[in-house]
Subunit: 223 residues, 2 copies
DNA sequence: AGATGTGAAAGTTTTCACAGCC
DNA sequence: GGCTGTGAAAACTTTCACATCT
């Protein structure tokens, strides 16, 4: 049993994407602090490291519970547990990755995924020339084995790293195979049933925001 | 007084990151519409394609000008010109890419960049084994040539696709070489002078938001 | 004393609703 | 009639400021 850290998780109404993104970022800072063997941190210090205000930090946490101790701040380890549990990275997630191109390979070796318990169970590609190649211990599989693999490893998340024209078809097959969430790197708007959670990552949107700032010479209000 | 059917661009106070992101997305939809040879679109149709409301669409445009015609909607071509000009993708941008790994290669061949006039002038890597290799017509260069290349091609944007531990050093060299904006794919918080525009793309933050949704069974308010 | 947690205030963004033009 | 552009209202987010706890 534990019971040391004060924070039992509670409330959870109307959480916004922005709050969750900040929690992810706080978590990264906490990983660094743990490395530096810092045991305790105040909302003010955490805010400064991230570039926000202490009130924002405390408000973000307060949607989920009371994780700190008045007069003392937050224990780094306890706060990581609490945020990890909110984000759902306190367990291991099995993924399937579709698309064995360069982007797929970059994701396969992306350290952040490993650190946070996202585990790629299998890689698929529709190109027969790629099928059978090895990435470390993984062998690239044909799409025909997708459904069986999803079932076998109880995969809940599919990652799409294919060109835009095949994105929708891949998403359909993932959903058919039973995944509940999709992380989509293909620059295409996917249409899937409402029960499927979809997150899109578009590698060029941040570039356009940069060209906006450079051509107009103006900063943007934060994201 | 009379008007400005193809809308001259005006206002520009307190534009938020969110507005610019939506403009990028509208632009993509307009590219599709152009392909489909649709000449005109209403705020309502555009909103439906994107998944927002017509009021949001009109409000987004109204920060910059009057691009439509009452009773008729927006001409696709004209709207693309206006949004393109706002985003600064109505001109060609020269980039340097640092990091010739799989992510770098994925970015090099990413079609969206080419379509939107982002042109990779040169690729650099600090690993001597990679220097000299060819990617299409590009030859991977050593870091020692960075400053000269930035000057020669009048490069204003640097793209960082290296592991986190070298991210800060690469950013420093880019700034020293004279770039004004950085698109950073390394999961590290960069410290650079205020005049340098920085945009971070973290490939795993969207994954964490997905694991939040899956583990809690709840959608998030949009981003 | 020191720092959290949180209502209330301030600020920002989105939605409403309609005047104005096609 | 159709649809934009925009003030005003509603909803949401961030900041303030202080009671509360260690």
């Amino acid at each position: 049993m534990r019971g040391e850290s004060s924070g039992n998780i509670r409330k959870r109404e109307g959480i916004s994407e922005a709050t969750i993104r900040r929690l992810s970022n706080y978590y990264r800072i906490l990983e660094d602090l743990e490395q530096e063997e810092v045991a305790t941190i105040s909302s003010e210090e955490l805010a400064q490291r991230y570039g926000t205000t202490s009130a924002q930090v405390r408000k973000d946490f307060s949607s989920f519970g009371s994780f700190g101790r008045r007069g003392l701040g937050y224990r780094v380890a306890g706060l990581m547990e609490n945020i990890g549990s909110i984000l759902g990275i306190d367990r291991s997630w099995q993924l399937v990755l579709v698309g064995a191109g360069h982007l797929g390979h970059a994701l396969y070796q992306y350290e952040e995924f490993h650190k946070q318990n996202f585990h790629i169970a299998a890689v698929f590609d529709s190109n027969n020339k790629k099928v059978g190649r090895k990435w470390g211990e993984l062998t690239i599989k044909p799409m025909s084995e997708l459904a069986a693999t999803v079932e076998k490893f109880q995969v809940r998340i599919g990652v799409i790293a294919v060109p835009p024209k095949s994105g929708q078809a891949v998403a359909d097959r993932l959903v058919e195979a039973g995944v509940e969430g999709i992380l989509n790197f293909a620059p295409v708007k996917l249409k899937e049933p409402d029960r499927v959670f979809i997150r899109n990552v578009n590698l060029s949107i941040a570039m356009e925001s940069l060209s906006y700032s450079l051509s107009k010479g103006r900063k943007l209000k934060p994201f």
